[in-house]
Amino acid sequence: MAGFTFYARIGLDDKVRPLHKKLDKKMFYDFADLTKKEKDYITKYVDRIELTYLLTPSVVNIQPFINEDYHYEGVMFITIRLRQETKDAHLSVIGEIIQGALPNPVVIVFEKEGNIQVGTCLKRLNKIDKTQVVLEEFAYTPWFSSDSDDEMVRRFIDAVHITALSFSHFFRFYQDIHIAVQAFQHVKAVGAFYIATDEESRQLIAQIEQAEAEIAKWKNKIKKETQFNRKVEYNMKIQQLTKQIEQWKQQLR
């Protein structure tokens, strides 16, 4: 099981005993307010959902973090085995369903064909209805093989290794994982594994990501466009964005 190799590699196995508790899909259908499309996704693409680890103050020496916005009493590690026909676009929808259904912070490990992908999400309490959470910011790593020796994978494993995370309280602990996941997610855009802890570099990375996405959009458009002067317009946009991205990358280093 690819997921377990990952848990072992980040040292979670040495720290806490796994639960391996299967979560019924039905529980999500009944408990979370799902649309028909969302239900379909779970039925069609998810093979098995398991609560693999549950970190709470009773099993690990980390303090809860609770104020009027954040309620981080513990962290769940959930392993989701996906069926073969799952496309990458379905992943974020499934991630959103699971994250939205569980008020606690969750680290999701997706498994598919021997590869894994890690997803996190920062949540805060809804100001009006304290039983609801607001999903603030998602992050997903790319697919990788958990026993891979690739440099980026190694750097990611090192960053989320249990000994590398802050034990001061669960919010910090989870945030460290989230930032590492983001760093891995941005490798493609930034061209390096860059842990962004300060607001400024986080913003730069977000800008780079956005510009990359925009470039992809224009490249698509340029292919379909028949009018020459529109092609030129898109070409200019691509070149200007490319220049801009280079500048931002310089600022990161």
Partner: protein, 602 residues
């Protein structure tokens, strides 16, 4: 190698294309089959002689005039430009009809906002007369002489004005984006005609409103009947269905009130009790106190109905606060989406503020009745986003440019650009501006932008503002036309070997090419010097141009280095530039090998 023709966009052809898209069956061999078109349109065809229409002498001609392509070009004038290399603003000198034609291809559907302040036809102002046969020649003649006013005693007083406005507005509409808007300043003398004109060109359903702008305050006792203190700004959309709603920005002052914020947005706590109204019902407070009567025994009226109150309470929109005088019921007063612009403008400057603004820049009255900056800035602020192009083709004292720069300076994100067009009307010798050394209106306009830009930078301390402008001047095409007559046939043939006019530069030709292939005049151009020959790399390898003589294969190879990786570029040479026909053939083959088939010559 296909030749670029020396004409601006062929609007008739574009119209036929549009019909073809809609009803392919009515176009046979590029001709329209009217009978078929009638069949398609069913019963909705007006056949009666008396129909609802607005017409005048010369209207058909004016329509035709709008559709004949221009044979002119716009020549760059770096000397009177400012920040030529970096600016994205344009100042174009010339007859606006010809200029609008030349901009058709490059700016088709790109302009968000047009503001114009045309002659009001008061009998004292100048109305331009177009010439069908050779409008460019006509333009050159007209700008050599001082202009004559369109007087009310002329038998074609309204007709002349309409003939001037009609083709220009028609062409202007093509330049507007789908969500574009046009604003036209006008007063009582022609507003009825102008509206009829716009209803025809833009469609009645696209009329937004006529702003009433108070342009004078006080005085006017010398008028015989009424002291008229207002003018209009007629506003039409290109397509009302896609136009987003307008909102004015809130002032900082106003926003201060909305201190709180939750999931739904900004709000502040406001009292739920109202002095008037008829919504009476008891409200029970957290400690059981019931609020129904005030201290005088009158029923308390609340802001909203009882049902709505309970719904709000459930959704957390209501809170109870204990004060010295008992319980206070409060609700979340939410920030509305924005303020609606109002149709009466009485605080947006007036004629004398406009005059003052120009006076402060020049220290003399170089221009009569300029519009105030505040007025146009106001429109810019609620009509445009952050990177829009604003066009003014009766730019006069260049107030529009001043307003664009100022509104950019006042904002953190706004980077609008302007395109101004103005006829270089010669000033009369008794004119204040003439005495100050300005020969025509364009000279005043350009100087105004220069001074206003500097002043704004000084006052705001913003150094990243685009306060420059590229100047272009309308002229006849750089390419000689094939115009043989019997006497000089031999001469012409010989001339055409080199078909570019002697007094024109490579850059003149380069910009003509940009217009003809439909690229904006502010497209980035890199000049590459290769063994003393210039290669132009336009828009990051989208177009590669070499207008030198003695072109050999080395140059062609060099040009290939600059092509964009995202699209096959267009490559353009001077027709007579190749060393030999063999080189020309080879060049075409070489380019083909690299996937470039779009090779043109001028």
């Amino acid at each position: 190698m296909e030749k670029l023709d020396g004409k601006s966009m062929d609007i008739v052809k574009a119209n036929i294309e549009a019909l073809k898209q809609l009803f392919p069956e009515v176009v046979t061999e590029e001709k329209i089959d009217f009978e078929k078109l009638k069949l398609i349109l069913g019963e909705e065809i007006e056949t009666r002689n008396e129909k609802y229409e607005f017409t005048w002498h010369g209207k058909t001609q004016a329509m035709k005039l709008a559709q004949t392509p221009s044979t002119g070009t716009l020549r760059p004038d770096k000397a009177s430009s400012k920040n030529w290399a970096t600016t994205e603003n344009l100042y174009i000198e010339g007859d606006n009809l010809e200029v609008l034609k030349l901009l058709q291809k490059s700016y088709f559907g790109k302009i968000k906002m047009i503001y114009i302040d045309p002659p009001y036809n008061t009998g004292k102002d100048f109305v331009y007369k177009d010439d069908f046969r050779d409008n460019i020649k006509n333009y050159k003649e007209i700008t050599q002489q001082t202009t004559k006013a369109n007087t009310e005693t002329s038998g074609r007083f309204h007709t002349d004005w309409l003939n001037m406005m009609y083709p220009r507005l028609k062409l202007a509409r093509n330049l507007l984006r789908e969500d574009g808007v046009i604003l036209i300043s006008i007063n009582d003398s022609e507003i009825t005609n102008l509206k009829k004109l716009c209803e025809e060109i833009f469609g009645e359903e696209n009329h937004i409103c006529d702003f009433v702008w108070q342009n004078k305050k006080g005085g006017g006792n010398d008028s015989k009947f009424i002291a008229v203190e207002h003018e209009y700004i007629v506003v039409f959309a290109k397509n009302l269905n896609v136009l987003p709603p307008f909102f004015e920005a809130y002032s900082e002052e106003y926003l201060k009130r909305y201190k709180e914020e939750d999931e739904k947005g900004k709000f502040y706590w406001d009292t739920f009790k109202r002095k008037s109204g008829k919504q009476y019902y008891p409200i029970t407070c957290p400690d059981g106190t019931v609020l129904e009567y005030d201290e005088y025994g009158n029923k308390i009226s609340w802001l909203r109905s009882q049902d709505r109150f309970y719904k709000d309470l459930e959704e957390g929109e209501i809170r109870f606060v204990k004060t010295e005088n008992g319980w206070s019921v409060q609700f979340k007063q939410r920030l509305p989406k924005g303020k609606k612009p109002r149709s009466i403008l009485d605080d947006k400057g007036n004629t004398s503020t406009g005059a003052e603004e120009v006076f402060n820049l020049f220290n003399r009255h170089v221009f009569s009745n300029p519009k105030p900056v505040e007025l146009i800035k106001y429109f810019i602020e609620f009509l445009t986003d952050d990177n829009d192009i604003i066009l003014d083709f009766f730019s006069g004292s260049a107030t529009t440019a001043h307003s664009v720069i100022l509104s950019n300076a006042k904002s953190t994100s706004r980077k609008n650009k302007f395109i101004l067009v103005q006829l270089p009307e010669i000033l009369k010798e008794n004119d204040e501006a003439y005495k100050a050394g300005y020969k025509n209106i364009c000279e005043i306009g350009k100087e105004r932008i220069r001074r206003a830009g500097e002043k704004i930078v000084q006052e705001t301390g913003k150094t990243d503002l685009d306060i420059g402008f590229k100047v272009f001047k309308l002229d006849s095409s750089n390419v000689k036309t094939w115009d043989p007559d019997f006497d000089n046939l031999e001469q012409t043939l010989f001339d055409l070997q080199d078909n570019i006019k002697e007094d024109r530069t490579k850059e003149d030709l380069l910009y003509e090419i940009l217009l003809k292939i439909g690229l904006p005049l502010t497209t980035p151009i890199e000049e590459i010097d290769y063994n003393g020959k210039t290669i132009y790399n336009v828009a990051y390898g989208s177009v590669l141009v070499c207008l030198e003589d003695d072109i050999d294969l080395d140059i062609v190879q060099e040009m290939l280095k600059y092509q964009s990786e995202h699209m096959p570029p267009k490559v353009i040479f001077k027709e007579s530039g190749f060393i030999s026909d063999a080189v020309k053939t080879n060049a075409i083959q070489t380019l083909k090998k690299h996937g470039i088939t779009d090779v043109r010559s001028v």
